[in-house]
């Protein structure tokens, strides 16, 4: 054999010794080798809501076992693993896998959150995964979000300032600080779908997510349409179905406070 190969072979024992310890090459150690090389499987059951629009069946819950030792730490990792290895028909929305796009919003163990930010507990209790509550389901974990988006459009979520300006619209640091905790909303709909009031009145009540955005524009010092924006909210349902239940703030995966924003809107409405 060549010089290079010979040198490599001579270095092999040292190389093996300094890499992963269990992989010793001596024969009697082979029995230990198998057990210590493969960690014990940590199986957790995932009970996932399923519904197929192409059959006439009712929605059901299907259980999938997942070895947590061979899975990433987040619920989204488990869902993708199930879809890849066990059931390719499992359907869910996802995109960024880092908690910024809002696609993977769903109800996990009773609370609305983002699957990509939700750690899987290492214990053996089954994990329950349901779609966002009280939404029409297109398939499996995918809800129809169109009503939510139409409501967002209604509050005109853009800057309205037609005053002539020669350069940028200036804003003080204090005024900019008022937008912190409002602009970061990713419109995942976790809060709106956690609100019992929105469950019963999603046709007329705008919901915490949309109202948070409405307040984001009402509070912006550069926006000149505040009165019109407040008048657009003036009826019994759009804002006033909020009874300060506060499930919204509890569930927000970005740690925002829609309940507080709605309270501020209600205070502003007193002056309209």
């Amino acid at each position: 054999m060549g010089r290079a190969t010979h040198n490599m072979l001579r270095a092999l024992p040292a190389f093996v010794a300094q890499s992963v310890r269990p992989f010793r090459t001596s024969a009697p150690a082979f029995e230990n080798l198998k057990e210590s090389a493969e960690p014990k499987a940590n199986i957790k059951n995932f009970k996932i809501y399923r519904w197929d629009p192409e059959t006439n069946s009712k929605p059901r819950v299907q259980t999938y076992p997942v070895d947590l030792n061979k899975c990433g730490p987040m619920v989204l990792d488990a869902l993708i693993k199930i879809k890849n290895e066990q059931d390719t028909t499992l359907t869910f929305r996802r995109s960024c896998r880092e908690g910024i796009c809002g696609s993977c919003a769903m109800n996990i163990d009773g609370t609305n959150t983002l699957a990509c930010l939700c750690f899987i507990p290492k214990d053996a209790t089954p994990m329950k995964i349901y779609p966002l509550p009280h939404m029409y389901i297109i398939k499996d974990l995918v809800p129809d979000m169109n009503n939510f988006y139409d409501q967002h459009k209604y509050v005109q979520p853009w800057l309205q300032n037609n005053e002539p300006a020669e350069a940028e619209l200036l804003q003080t640091k204090d005024d900019r600080k008022k937008l912190d905790g409002l602009y970061e909303c990713i419109l995942c709909a976790c809060c709106s779908t956690s609100c019992p009031s929105y469950w019963w009145n999603s046709d007329k009540y705008l919901g915490p997510a949309v109202l948070l955005q409405a307040y984001r524009w009402i509070a912006d010092s550069r926006d000149k349409a505040k009165t019109q924006r407040l008048q657009d909210l003036q009826d019994d349902f759009k804002v006033y179905r909020c009874h300060t239940i506060m499930n919204c703030t509890k569930t927000c995966p970005k740690h925002l406070n829609p309940g507080k924003a709605i309270a501020e809107i209600k205070k502003e409405m007193l002056n309209v």
């Binding site: 609370t111 966002l132 509550p133 469950w199 007329k204 703030t249 309270a263 501020e264």
Partner: protein, 190 residues
């Protein structure tokens, strides 16, 4: 120079437009607002009315499609926020029933020959020799709603002024209200 550049730009725009139309991405006709078939919607002048119509369409379409509604009450985990809120509503209803029911009873029953006043009523209940738990529960059923609704009412008033919305504050004030409600009603009912 400038005219040539402008002509070049216009020709590029024309080519782009032509490509988009040929590929079905842009309508070759100038945009026309879709005429709705509902007469009421056609006369809907305000944005709010239009939004209401859009929402109605959404619900009609989904109801017709046979899509299921995802579960809500059956799967959503109870939180202090929602539990205290529903208790506030429940105690409010209980208090209304107690006040109306109690008043109607006292006003209507036992007049004339069978006149009974409150003391005689209480003596009668004492004479029944009920196990200690029964009067306790009955008294709690009126006292606890009164105390809980009053203390949580104060919490609501603080919210109306914009105070106490942070998660930590919500939970702190929530537990305090619950403790105060039980602490002031249980000793009175024993």
């Amino acid at each position: 120079g400038a005219t040539l550049a402008r002509q070049h730009m216009l020709s590029r725009q024309h080519t782009l437009m032509r490509t988009l139309v040929r590929n079905g991405l842009v309508c070759s006709q100038p945009a026309v607002a879709p005429q709705s078939t509902n007469a009421l919607e056609r006369f809907a002048s305000t944005r709010a009315d239009k939004q209401a119509a859009v929402a109605r369409d959404f619900f009609e379409k989904n109801e017709k499609s046979g899509r299921p509604m995802s579960p809500h009450l059956t799967i959503y985990s109870p939180q202090l926020t929602s539990m205290l809120s529903i208790t506030h509503r429940g105690t409010g209803i209980a208090l209304t029933c107690a006040i109306y029911g109690g008043s109607i009873y006292l006003m209507s029953a036992h007049h004339g020959a069978n006149a009974t006043d409150f003391t005689t009523l209480v003596e009668g209940i004492k004479a029944m020799q009920l196990p200690a738990a029964v009067p306790f529960v009955a008294k709690m059923a009126v006292t606890f709603p009164m105390m809980f609704h009053s203390f949580n009412g104060v919490r609501h008033l603080a919210w109306d002024s914009g105070k106490g919305f942070e998660m930590k504050k919500l939970y702190q004030t929530g537990w305090v209200v619950l403790a105060l409600a039980i602490g002031t009603s249980a000793p009175l009912c024993i």
